[in-house]
Symmetry: C2
């Protein structure tokens, strides 16, 4: 059976930084599912017409087409029940809260740290589209939105409960990583891929967790291509 | 079997506002466990000597003594497994994250809204102790810490993921309330008991959830005595 994930790429096709694609990539590795990652760019809407969707990730699992990263994680739990990502009942419900925590509280702070790095990482053909859609969402220019110091302070504060939890267990979901770890990791990997700067001081428990996450699945994320691997300029 | 919970009281013995006692009170109701709530004040440390502890809640369940609200919730799950509050495995782990979210992100914002209301609600004999311990923690006077508008803005932002979740289900833990609901409710009930002011605009999903929580267990929390029931002055 062919399994394909449409995966956002940047100005170099090897540069894959979408937070939503990263949470799915880690989830697929968690389930041990071999997958072909197909590079996709913002303006290639036609290529996703078959899925009746205009964003990635889109998963094609044999004949089955699934859109939206969280729906893909749910689908993987339903189709491959071993090693649950989100689980069911209250487990699922609490993971859903964590998804909203990441998307409403963590990702906006990260965006302030890397807004212009992100613009630079995107394919030149996609930049006008990216600028237009994001500036409409933020109500200001990307240049005005880019406030790394403010973003870092907000992130530090937002992650306080995560830091507290990591004093007790190596991963957010306990002794081994699972769905909730991938939700946060996806967003942090997004910033990690496009930025030259470290995200947290090296003695921070969150930074240590991030290192452990990079090392999972034989260093799947540690081996990822980042802007630091690009030739200068 | 006798079951007693030592429960913080204020300047009127009927005034019970501790966020940690409220999460346990709701948890006991969730388990259907009849309990005697024994009023306790900050300086009555001697009365807790038997528990080798100096704060409430303290639960005496027959011969068993359990301290710390979250430990009491764990104990209740272990001793009365029906209708889990926190659950086990990843369910538990995700509830533990939520506990830290409430204590590190929600409660500090609420404290800024009600710091002086809280001081006024406390028994006059306890106020010097309360002021001294809290001012040492905050590094400023209670008067300087009391910033209701700033607290309200921070709370609105912090609760964004909660609000998002409540668009999908009536309670944080799904169709019926459970441990995670009680963790947040305890802190909001704390502010509700000591303050004259509403916590959220009446059309907010969080406010609607709070109303539903007040109504649980035959209006257990709705019937609580608050400062609004005290004679003026």
């Amino acid at each position: 059976m062919t399994r394909t994930l449409y995966d956002l790429c940047g100005r170099d096709e090897r540069l894959r930084f979408s937070p939503y694609c990263w949470r799915v990539r880690m989830s697929l590795a968690h389930k041990g599912l071999e997958t072909h990652f197909k590079p996709w760019r913002f303006l290639q809407k036609d290529e996703l017409a078959f899925a009746d969707y205009d964003k990635v990730p889109v998963l094609c699992d044999g004949d089955k087409v699934v859109t939206d990263s969280f729906e893909i994680m749910r689908y993987l739990d339903a189709a491959y029940p071993e090693a649950p990502l989100l689980g069911e009942g209250v487990s699922y419900q609490r993971a859903l809260f964590f998804k909203h925590f990441v998307e409403r509280s963590v990702t906006p702070s990260l965006f302030r740290i890397v807004a212009l790095d992100l613009l630079a990482a995107i394919h030149p053909d996609d930049r006008a589209y990216f600028r237009e859609t994001r500036e409409a969402r933020f109500g200001c220019t990307l240049e005005a939105f880019h406030q790394p110091e403010q973003g870092r302070q907000a992130l530090q504060k937002t992650l306080a409960p995560v830091r507290e939890l990591l004093r007790e267990t190596p991963f957010l979901d306990g002794e081994v990583p699972s769905g909730v770890d991938y939700l946060l990791f996806g967003s942090m990997m997004w910033a990690y891929c496009v930025s030259e700067q470290a995200l947290a001081p090296p003695d921070d428990d969150v930074a240590h967790w991030f290192e452990r996450m990079l090392a999972q699945y034989d260093g799947l994320a540690a081996r990822a291509f980042t802007v630091r691997d690009l030739p200068a300029g």
